[in-house]
């Protein structure tokens, strides 16, 4: 039955090359922890992606309750955490996932670096990877403000002060991300929300897509 469905679609859309990219390819021995336990270092990238999936899903559920305005933001997070069934678990997954993803990404970066896997022909994929790292840090930074508690507000104040101290474009940069040159308030929160929920995830998904396409195109680097 499944085969027939596959054939029906394949006849029209020629999905065999796509299926091959996704699933029907060989995994070499040197990356397979079943053969060499030390190959567990190759899991870090996949686990990073796994946590990204957790972040996207838990984040989607958080927005069902979260209200991005300064009157209700904290109240909605408090309600979510203390009243909503499993709210604490969903928020906990998003909170801890944000830390774990940095850890896994750090380990993945070190693995690729120390194995020299970024060398020709994989330079572009390394650059995309570093950009993913930056986007992820920016996601952590913008997500920090959203609960609108003391820590959120004052840590963001420091961040914006640093942004403002950028030579030449400091004031403009601060106005762009905070919504005002002096006030950190309602508009800052909505901007950070928009950046955290729309702009950065869009950039992240695009970069991750490029990352994976390049891996499939180039294959994984050979054994050391």
């Amino acid at each position: 039955m499944l085969n027939k469905v596959y054939d029906w679609i394949d006849e029209r859309l020629d999905i065999t090359p796509l299926w091959r990219d996704l699933a029907d390819h060989e995994v070499p021995e040197h990356v397979n922890p079943a053969h060499h336990f030390s190959a567990f270092v190759y899991c870090f990238g996949g686990l990073t992606f796994f946590v990204v999936v957790i972040q996207v899903l838990s984040g989607m559920f958080l927005t069902m309750y979260y209200v991005p305005d300064i009157v209700n933001a904290w109240e909605s997070v408090y309600y979510l955490q203390n009243e909503v069934a499993f709210g604490q678990i969903v928020r906990g997954m998003h909170h801890w996932g944000a830390s774990i993803v940095i850890v896994m990404m750090f380990l993945h970066t070190l693995r690729v670096f120390f194995q020299g896997a970024y060398k020709k022909p994989r330079e572009l994929n390394w650059i995309v990877g570093v950009l993913i790292f930056m986007v992820m840090l920016a996601l952590g930074l913008t997500g920090y403000l959203l609960p609108w508690d003391m820590k959120a507000l004052f840590a963001t104040k420091v961040t914006l002060d640093i942004a403002q101290s950028t030579p030449l474009i400091g004031d403009m940069l601060k106005t762009l991300i905070a919504g005002d040159q002096h006030i950190i308030g309602a508009e800052t929160l909505t901007r950070f929300f928009a950046i955290h929920v729309f702009f950065l995830p869009a950039a992240l998904l695009l970069l991750i897509g490029l990352h994976f396409i390049m891996i499939r195109k180039q294959g994984i680097s050979g054994p050391l």
């Binding site: 604490q88 390394w126 820590k151």
Partner: protein
Amino acid sequence: MKRGKGMKFVGDSRVSINNRKPNIPTDYSEYPGKTEWFYPDFLLKEWMVGAVFLIGFLCLVIAEPPPLERVADPTDTAYIPLPDWYFLFLYQLLKYSFASGPFNVVGAFIIPGLAVTALLLAPFLDRSPKRRPLDRPFATGFMLLAVAGIFYLTWEAAAYHDWEASKEQGKIRDVVEIDKENPAYGILEANTCLSCHGENLEGSVTGPPLVGTELSAEEIMDIAVNGKGDMPAGLFTGTEEELQQIAEYILSIEE
């Protein structure tokens, strides 16, 4: 053009074999050892690793509820902020005199900028075809140095941070409805009690809450006059009668 199942590809690529020109990409069969099909064999193993990881992750989530401090109060100037742990090394860097104040540009832009640029351009800085860490001492050395620096700065920031005070300053304080029309409330206000103990007597970083103190009237009067802990003596400047009044008032406030 042949399509569908049974297509033959060059190596691990999606380039189909056309038998006209030799295609280049190296096949994994050129590496010694046992290759395995991704689907379903290897996927199952990845799935198991993912499951174990997820269990560990959920244990962490259940054991440590996500923190939430009290609602943001922009007027509280005493609050000492701390970034998330993975920015602690930058936070620490900006504390050093060579990277702060007039040299803020060094700590906030030059050092991190150089590090990020070097990381981004690593493939073009480390161009030899050698891949083993020991065969490229500069790349390995600089990365080890950077990692050591990040770990040291993070440790330094965490070790010298007062985590207890941090926890105290952000605590969500229960606000009990109190009778602010009572003349005793005016006496508390006049004697600057509220500036430390809070407008709703909910307490603050500098003074404990006065709600449900479990003290006797004598003890309350004694503390008001003679102080306690960080609270100096002589803050209360009212009459004996007023002292009596505020003691009764504070006693009357239950949690």
